[in-house]
């Protein structure tokens, strides 16, 4: 049996993602970002623990606005991934599966990650 052809809108300006969809795709994006940052993080830890000069070097790296901006992006990625992951675990045990709760918890994930990022921004740039 031939499947019935369905309309496919891959035009990004026509796709309208609901809030849980945004949480989901950003869960993916944030996870990929964190994976990519991992080797650099281990390298920085290695240098910071090698000796006094290494520690000073890493401190200077983190003093640079670009490094602080990258750190802020990673704080957002880590917090979004964390809260969206908790939401996933809750859904796995069938908590909050109805549409209204799913929308509410999605909003909560976005707000919580936003607050964590805002707090980090205040500490990094304030």
């Amino acid at each position: 049996m031939k499947p019935v052809p369905r309309p496919v809108y891959l035009d990004l300006f026509r796709i309208h993602l609901p809030l849980p969809g945004w949480v989901s795709i950003l869960h993916r994006v944030s996870g990929a970002l964190l994976f990519l940052a991992l080797p650099t993080g281990v390298w920085l830890l290695s240098v910071s623990l090698s000796d006094e000069a290494g520690y000073r070097y890493v401190s200077e790296v983190f003093a640079h606005p670009l490094a602080r901006t990258a750190t802020l992006v990673l704080v957002w990625a880590a917090s979004h991934h964390f809260f969206a992951g908790l939401r996933h675990l809750a859904l796995d045990v069938h908590w909050g599966e109805d549409l209204a709760s799913a929308r509410r918890s999605s909003l909560a994930v976005m707000v919580a990650a936003g607050l964590a990022t805002g707090l980090a921004a205040w500490r990094l740039f304030g």
Binding site: R28, L34, F35, L38, P39, V42, G85, L89, D92
Partner: protein, 119 residues
């Protein structure tokens, strides 16, 4: 034996993803609180902060869970977007190499000469 690609590998990886998520959700906030409670002001303080054996073991445990978690996640992303099998397997190996190297490197840092005397 399970096939390296294709269907029917889902339930095992799903469980790995959840189990490692729970480990990370418990371990990472604990480590974060510990680091934020006493931000290091110099090299000696930084070394002292990481010196306790339980802390380094917890970091290594979290790193192991993170590597498994990241492997399942990145694998899912690649299965969705990279359809050329040869290319996908090549990226798989690069991802596994990156994760395994990162964990081994972290173990070398945490249990190497820097802390060898303190342990």
């Amino acid at each position: 034996m399970k096939a390296a690609t294709g269907s029917h590998t889902g339930t095992g990886t799903w469980l790995v993803q959840r189990a490692t998520a729970v480990v990370l959700a418990l371990a990472l906030p604990l480590l974060l609180l510990r680091f934020l409670a006493a931000p290091p002001l110099d090299f000696a303080a930084w070394q002292a902060l990481l010196a306790p054996l339980w802390l380094r073991l917890l970091m290594l445990l979290a790193a192991g869970a993170l590597a498994l978690h990241a492997w399942v996640g990145v694998r899912d992303i690649l299965m969705d977007y990279v359809h050329a099998t040869g290319l996908r397997l090549t990226i798989y190996m690069a991802v596994i190499g990156t994760l395994a190297t990162s964990v081994a490197w972290l173990a070398a840092i945490l249990f190497g000469p820097v802390f060898g005397r303190a342990a």
